[in-house]
């Protein structure tokens, strides 16, 4: 599924909020992973 093609206007209000929360939480995860992997990169270089 292509994220950019999602029709968010079709989501109900509560679904919209729920999805946004999940996305936000995933972004936090990605941010954490990025930091961890960057540290790994430093250690390996």
């Amino acid at each position: 599924m292509e994220l950019k093609n999602i029709k968010i206007s079709n989501l109900e209000n509560d679904e919209l909020l729920d999805i946004q929360k999940q996305v936000e939480s995933f972004l936090k995860f990605l941010n954490g992973e990025n930091e961890t992997v960057k540290k790994l990169e430093e250690e390996n270089s």
Binding site: M1, S9, L17, Q20, F26, L30, N34, V37, L40, S45
Partner: protein, 545 residues
């Protein structure tokens, strides 16, 4: 849209797994992983931005509610009829002018607050002006202290600063000449009223006639019209979009109370019925009963706050009736002659004291002593006269205060009988500021002057701006408790409420639950659904962060 949600959730899970399983050993693998993380982050940041935009746009659309223009119009009409009612009701001109509050405050404020004393004095001057009597310092002729102080206060008021240094200095000056100067001012305001009483009464009578003529209504008609408007305003407000939204915004309503499960639970508790099994007709009927119960309980709760006033009046009335009975027996046995009432005796006493004061004032002020220094004997004579006059002013103050008590007693006996309602009694008590203030102090001896003022306003607003449905129907002779009367009525209509619900530690809970059901029903009549409000409150919380 469940499918779309599931798809997004699945995508997030997949992307998370990809990141988690990608190799992290070796610089090449790390670089690939970092690239994947960066690309994924970008994708989701874009999505997040889109989501936030959509959330905000929906929030804006939902919360775009227009101010109801009808409400302020009705409010204006209510105020118009309230003013008409106040100008035509049975209160004396003294209360209509608001002098009951002024004299109570003048009597009490000097101990704590010169600014408030000045405010009340100027208010009284303005009130006299409104009824066509323009006062000058010469009207404050009870003593030279009152006159000298008012000369400066009126001059400074004209300049726009009633708390100027000049006023403060003048107060200091007259205070050291006579520490009872505030009593003199109190007596003086009352004397001015006495002096112009007939003129003021005529003013209010003419005004009342004019109002009644212009509105083409009777006094009762004005009250009915005002009540009708209040009812109309309340009904509009209950389902008004902005009003509902504001209540959630300000925290007076909590969205968690309005979850469907909670509604169903409370509905069952209050009515014994599962709301989902009710037919439309049954539901409407029950909702109407809940609406009425809500109105009754709101009024009952407010009444409980002011019940002490009603109890005070009723207690005084019982004592007066007892005394009147004893006196009647004595009178029957002893003499048949009609004796003067205590009120008449005090009125006479006030007049005599006023006359004596002005006789002494004339002596003190006599300008026949020439241009030369007065002889010591004359000065001494003056001092004695001043001392006598000052004592008489204090006697007059005492007489006025006794007269107030007596006037209330007389009015209690004349205006209240067994057919009077609890509302009549509360309205009666609220008409006399001094009486109300004393009852408040008796009820709570730690109450401050400021709190008395605020509470008096609240009580008067309650009386003047409510549509009564309970206390105006219950007579003082009713032996049943008010709570039982309400409970019995709604029990008959199938509500599951008991005497216990009205006990001190339960009544708040009952009121809260009835309000939740009623507000829930009203929300459904507005543009909002409960889900809309949940969304609005969630987003509002989100935006805060």
């Amino acid at each position: 849209m469940k499918e779309l949600v599931e798809n997004i959730e699945k995508q997030i899970t997949t992307d998370k797994e990809v990141i988690s399983v990608l190799p992290r050993n070796g610089i090449k693998a790390i670089k690939t992983l970092l690239k994947t993380i960066s690309e994924t982050t970008e994708k989701y940041e874009n999505l997040n931005e889109k989501l936030l935009k959509e959330i905000e746009s929906r929030y804006k659309k939902l919360t775009e509610v227009e101010e109801n223009t009808e409400i302020p119009q009705i409010e204006q009409e209510i105020l118009k009829y309230d003013m008409a009612e106040k100008n035509t009701d049975m209160r004396s001109s003294f209360e209509k002018m608001g002098l009951d509050r002024v004299v109570y405050n003048i009597n009490g404020y000097y101990k704590s607050n010169l600014e408030r004393l000045n405010k009340e004095l100027i208010f009284s001057v303005k009130q006299f002006e409104k009824v066509g009597i323009k006062l000058t310092a010469d009207d404050f002729c009870i003593s030279e202290y009152a006159k000298n102080y008012m000369e400066v206060l009126l001059r400074e008021a004209y300049e726009g600063d009633i708390n100027s240094e000049a006023v403060k200095n003048q107060f200091e000056k007259v205070y050291w000449q006579c520490s009872e100067v505030v009593s003199h001012l109190y007596v003086n305001v009352r004397y001015i009223y006495d002096k112009y009483e007939n003129q003021i009464d005529r003013f209010y009578n003419e005004k009342a006639q004019e109002i009644l003529r212009n509105l083409s209504l009777s006094v009762e008609g004005i009250t009915e019209k005002k009540e009708e408007l209040i009812k109309q305003r309340n009904q509009i407000e209950e389902t008004d979009n902005k009003n509902i939204l504001d209540k959630f915004y300000t925290g007076s309503l909590n969205i968690n109370d309005y979850k469907e499960d909670n509604y169903k639970k409370i509905y069952l508790e209050l009515t014994g019925k599962d709301v989902t099994n009710l037919s439309d007709i049954e539901k409407n009927e029950m909702d109407e009963n809940i609406d009425k119960l809500n109105t009754n309980l709101t009024e009952y709760a407010k009444y409980l706050e002011y019940k002490f006033l009603v109890e005070q009046v009723l207690q005084t009335r019982q004592e007066l009736l007892k005394t009147a009975e004893v006196n009647k027996d004595k009178k029957d046995k002893k003499d048949k002659k009609a004796k003067k009432t205590q009120y008449e005796i005090l009125k006479e006493q006030v007049k005599n004291l006023q006359a004596e004061i002005f006789k002494l004032n004339a002596k003190i002020e006599k300008p026949n002593r020439g241009f030369f220094e007065r002889k010591k004997a004359e000065e001494k004579k003056d001092s004695i006269s001043i001392l006598q006059r000052n004592n008489l002013v204090l006697d007059l103050k005492k007489a006025y205060m006794q007269l107030d008590d007596e006037m209330i007693n007389q009015n209690i006996l004349q205006n209240l009988d067994e057919t009077s309602s609890l509302f009549d009694v509360l309205k009666f008590a609220s008409s006399y500021y001094g009486y109300m203030a004393k009852a408040m102090i008796k009820h709570n001896e730690d109450i401050t002057d400021k709190e008395i003022g605020e509470n008096a306003k609240k009580i008067r607003d309650f009386i003047n701006f409510s549509k009564f449905t309970v206390i105006n129907h219950v007579n003082i002779s009713d032996t049943k408790e008010l709570s039982i009367i309400i409970k019995d009525k709604y029990k008959l209509l199938g509500m599951q409420i008991s005497k216990e619900n009205f006990e001190d530690d339960s009544i708040e809970d009952l009121i809260r639950k009835v309000k939740i059901i009623n507000t829930y029903n009203n929300i459904l009549k507005s543009k909002f659904s409960i889900k809309d409000l949940e969304y609005i409150m969630n987003v509002k919380e989100m935006l805060k962060k």
